[in-house]
């Protein structure tokens, strides 16, 4: 696939605060991309640079080969769905959606046709004459989306599109957004702090932290093969075992079984961390290939799954284990924990916030 948007080494600071510290990434034509990160990671600044509300201090942004930063906000083929929706309160739904087309000096008949079409698509044809304050949150959001896609932008930016909706509407919208993107064929870039949102919708995700890109990958790869401690920690649950990378595995006191061979991102002899997902750990009594032994501290049942906290001697944090079905173990019971090499990943240790900023 050809790349549509190319961001190269973009930097932006506000006073002493570095919002973007050399971000480079590619968004491909027609994909559903997500910028994921905690608040303050710089994702909103990046979004505002793409929309033209901010300029980078350094670095380049090109859209289809053209320098985007040279184009003023009102002439960019990029539309944004605002987190607050930012609907014009004094205009009807119809007029809100028509606003962008009127600026293009489109003909009246064409405007009417395109507005009608897009309102139909978002299921709000009946609400065309109403004002924004007469709609529910979910409806307003669809108006905001309609207003942004009616101009058929080359890139559609969505700022935390689902954050203001309640859980049930959210799940529906997630599915619907994905379908919509498929139907209209516009490249979508979602900005979100919600990993579930990013994972369920996006084709590829860039994880941002402290103004830097940690990893860009498909949701499955991010989950299964995180390359940094931050990604392993931020996405899904994880158990971390500190140690030193040695030939053949991780030395944590003694050589920990169940470690994969050292990957390219970790140098032999350096500090390293083994990350194992709770659902990858087998729990039982008398396991042949037990890696750790401990006692059950806490058991909780979540309907479909059961979760255990297991205290392991010499380890401060209990190991989190998850498995389908009923618990089957009780607190204070001695258990074995085991996993295979393929189920664990070896990553560099966490970079502290202080050293990341330096």
């Amino acid at each position: 696939m050809t790349s549509l948007l190319t961001i190269t080494d973009v930097r932006r600071s506000f006073g002493d605060v570095t919002a973007l510290d050399g971000v480079s990434l590619d968004i491909r034509e027609g994909e559903f991309f997500a910028l994921l990160g905690p608040s303050g990671c710089g994702k909103t600044t990046l979004l505002r640079i793409l929309a033209g509300f901010e300029s980078p201090d350094a670095g380049t942004v090109t859209l289809g080969g053209d320098d985007l930063t040279a184009i003023p906000a009102h002439r960019r083929p990029v539309n944004l769905m605002f987190q607050s929706y930012a609907l014009f309160p004094h205009l009807s739904i119809e007029k809100n959606v028509a606003y962008g087309l009127e600026r293009e000096k489109a003909g009246r008949a064409e405007i009417r046709e395109r507005v009608g079409e897009v309102l139909d698509r978002v299921g709000l044809a009946g609400a065309a004459k109403r004002r924004p304050h007469q709609l529910s949150g979910g409806q307003r959001q669809r108006v905001a989306l309609a207003r942004a896609i009616v101009k058929r932008p080359r890139l559609l930016l969505l700022d935390e599109p689902l954050s203001a909706l309640d859980r049930k509407v959210r799940a529906e919208m997630q599915l619907w957004l994905k379908q919509l993107q498929h139907e209209v064929g516009i490249t979508f870039a979602v900005v979100t702090h919600d990993q579930e949102e990013a994972m369920s919708m996006a084709d590829r995700i860039a994880v941002l932290n402290h103004g830097r890109v940690e990893q860009i990958d498909t949701p499955v790869a991010l989950y299964g093969a995180p390359r940094t401690h931050f990604v392993a920690d931020f996405i899904g649950g994880n158990n971390f075992f500190d140690g030193t990378a040695v030939k053949g595995g991780l030395l944590a006191g003694s050589l920990l079984p169940g470690t994969p061979s050292v990957p390219d991102i970790v140098a032999t002899g350096d500090a390293a961390v083994l990350a194992v997902r709770p659902e990858q750990i087998r729990i039982g009594t008398g396991l042949d290939d037990a890696v750790l032994r401990g006692t059950v501290l806490d058991v909780s049942f979540y309907g479909g799954t059961s979760r255990f906290a297991v205290r392991v001697p010499g380890r401060e944090k209990p190991v989190q284990v998850q498995r389908p079905g009923a618990p089957g173990f009780v607190p204070d019971q001695a258990v074995d924990l085991g996993w295979g090499e393929a189920e664990a990943v070896l990553i560099p240790p966490a970079v502290s916030a202080a050293s990341a900023a330096a």
Binding site: A51, G52, F53, P72, A73, H74, R75, V78, N79, L80, F82, S84, A86, L87, F88, P89, H90, Y99, G100, R103, E104, R131, P132, H133, R147, A148, K151
Partner: protein
């Protein structure tokens, strides 16, 4: 019961004050309009329609129209000057904003009469403005600035401009900045975004400001007296003269009623259009 008691306690003082000092006097004034004048002021309680007949006499009607015209021009100028002022203040950094707002209301700390007298000093033939004009050689001899309609308008405008700026400022200040970003994102250049988003959203505040300026301008008699010369330029002077000089209370009351009626119509229009624009005020 408790809620009722609470309402009475809270509303009571204000309501009582307004009833005693506004509703009752207003009712009295209105009742005067149907009686005849006493010889040395006061009333003769014999009903008549003579007062209303006199009020529509071109002589007096002309004063009413002139007053409305002066108040109207003052209001329009206040809007044209006040809007950019409010717009800039609303976009200042927090500290400068406070300073600007204090500066705006600072003149109110000085007595209204004194401030109006200051205009005499400015506009008189030997005043500052004429000094400057002759000094720079722009005019050969001092202009007659004082005791003209423009002088009245200048005085009223100076006095009531803050009443236009403050509601506009409040409206512009609370306006969501993201709406302008949304407009830009949808292809509107800044001037277009202002005309299609900012301006319509401040329409209710513009209306409020206009009423705030027009109402006291229409009834004012101090400014026309001092800056308009001894001539009865505006209806406020006329009413005052009828009560205090001509000692014709019933006719003074009738003219006062005419002013109240004009303002009531204006307020009704404002309330009506305010309700129509209400959607614009909500997010």
């Amino acid at each position: 019961m408790k809620a009722k008691l609470e309402r009475i306690t809270l509303l009571g003082p204000g309501l009582g004050y307004l009833t005693a000092l506004m509703v009752v006097p207003l009712a009295l004034v209105l009742s005067y309009t149907i009686f005849q004048r006493g010889r040395f002021g006061g009333l003769v309680y014999e009903p008549t329609t003579e007062n209303f007949r006199r009020a529509v006499d071109p002589l007096y009607l002309d004063v009413l129209v002139t007053s409305a015209w002066i108040a109207g021009v003052t209001t329009l100028l206040a809007l044209l000057i006040g809007y950019p002022t409010a717009y800039v203040i609303a976009r200042l950094p927090a500290r400068a904003k406070t300073i600007a707002l204090v500066a705006l209301v600072l003149p109110f700390w000085t007595n209204f009469l004194i401030r109006t007298y200051a205009w005499i000093v400015l506009l008189s033939p030997a005043g500052l403005v004429n000094d400057a004009l002759t000094g720079w050689g722009l005019v050969d001899e001092p202009l007659q600035l004082l005791y003209t309609k423009p002088a009245i308008i200048a005085g009223l405008l100076y006095s009531y401009l803050p009443l236009m700026v403050l509601p506009l400022y409040a409206s512009l200040e609370k306006q969501d900045h993201e709406l302008l970003e949304a407009a830009a994102n949808l292809g509107a250049r800044p001037a277009r975004a202002f005309l299609t988003v900012t301006l319509p959203l401040t329409l209710p505040a513009m209306l409020t400001g206009c009423v705030f300026v027009f109402v006291p301008s229409l009834g004012n008699f101090v400014v026309p007296e001092l800056l308009g010369g001894g001539r009865t330029a505006m209806v406020g002077n006329l009413v005052r003269d009828q009560f205090l000089k001509a000692r014709d209370w019933p006719f003074g009351a009738t003219l006062a009623l005419a002013v109240v009626a004009m303002l009531a119509v204006l307020l009704l229009i404002q309330a009506w259009s305010g309700r129509r624009l209400q959607g614009a005020d909500r997010a």
